[in-house]
């Protein structure tokens, strides 16, 4: 098994509620969900650094909205 490190994560009640809701919705453990979030965050950062924009497009209306990453 690859080396793993453990850390304590302090979340507010609201943050924990979101984590629980998302992990139930995605049928993943909380750890798996946070790992997935980290992967997605890294991909977004890499694409933005290379000059890409993050857009959401409504499939029905084709309306596009840029997500500003601060």
């Amino acid at each position: 098994m690859a080396a793993r490190r453990t850390m304590t994560l302090n979340l507010t009640e609201a943050e924990m509620a979101v984590l629980v809701a998302l992990s139930e919705k995605k049928e993943m453990s909380k750890t798996a969900l946070l790992r997935q979030a980290l992967r997605i965050y890294q991909v977004i950062e890499a694409r933005i650094e290379s000059g890409d924009k993050l857009l959401f497009e409504n499939e029905a209306t084709k309306e596009k909205a840029e997500v500003m990453m601060l």
């Binding site: 049928e27 453990s29 798996a32 997935q36 992967r39 991909v43």
Partner: protein, 256 residues
């Protein structure tokens, strides 16, 4: 860099037996050196044979222009794109890069869920039946697919005990209560997901499969291993096999 290594098995075609191999949870410099020094020369020779045999370019290996070194450099460090390689006999036998972020399930019961998408997968040239007859190893592609672990959670039973009870019941329904005592399911955690490992003991008596009414024989169909596969034996062949193997008569068969 620490690389996770899992023991796996490939089928050695020449020796007709399973051979121990390693699944590396990374594509290492050794893999890339094998690709450049061993795969590419074999691939070029194989394409030369295809050209001289008049095979249309459309049927040449699609991966002939792939540059694995470039792919690994571009995706280096990206958590969303882990690479895997299979090593056997000191040589890389297959490589794969997956994407765990950009694709979502489209089937009704997986709508919107994350999935593991195989971006690139390639078998060493000598393992491809379309290039080498016979190929050296079989099973590289299946092992690569197996990395896409979804976990028994996908079956949506309340807990591990209920999953194993359900599995045991399915086995009893299809193979009978006595055969059901020959299996031993256990749940192990792989990549944070529950995976059911089923150990099977050899049955002391013949076992017949009756499954949802699709069996062709009233008492069930009989299957036997044949090389790397499994074949369904006809009524008479199964009787002869059972007499030789178990010293009993197949139930329901009355010969002349």
């Amino acid at each position: 860099m620490t690389v996770e290594v899992t023991e796996v098995h490939l089928f050695n075609v020449e020796r007709e037996e399973a051979q121990t191999a390693e699944l590396w949870h990374a594509i290492t410099e050794q893999c890339l050196a094998d690709w450049e020094g061993e795969w590419l020369p074999e691939l070029f020779r194989a394409m030369q044979r295809l050209r001289r045999a008049g095979v249309d370019r459309a049927h040449w290996p699609q991966s002939r222009h792939w540059d694995w070194r470039r792919k690994v450099e571009v995706l280096q460090g990206m958590l969303a794109n882990p690479g895997f390689s299979i090593v056997c006999d000191g040589l890389t036998q297959g490589m794969m890069i997956v994407d765990t972020v950009k694709h979502r399930g489209r089937l009704d019961d997986q709508q919107g869920q994350h999935l593991v998408y195989v971006e690139f997968v390639e078998n060493a040239p000598w393992n491809r039946a379309e290039l080498f007859d016979p190929p050296r190893y079989r099973g590289v592609g299946s092992l690569a697919d197996d990395r896409a672990v979804v976990g028994i959670e996908r079956d949506r039973l309340d807990n591990d005990d209920k999953f194993m009870l359900h599995l045991s019941q399915v086995v009893r329904n299809g193979l009978g209560a006595r055969a059901g005592t020959c299996i031993d399911p256990k749940v192990q955690i792989v990549d944070g997901k529950g995976v059911c490992v089923v150990s099977c003991q050899r049955s002391p008596e013949p076992v017949f499969l009756r499954w949802k009414g699709i069996e062709t024989e009233k008492d069930g169909d009989f299957f036997a291993r044949s090389g790397p596969g499994t074949v369904k034996l006809s009524l008479e062949d199964s009787q002869k096999y059972i007499t030789t193997r178990f010293g009993t008569e197949r139930p329901g068969l009355r010969m002349g």
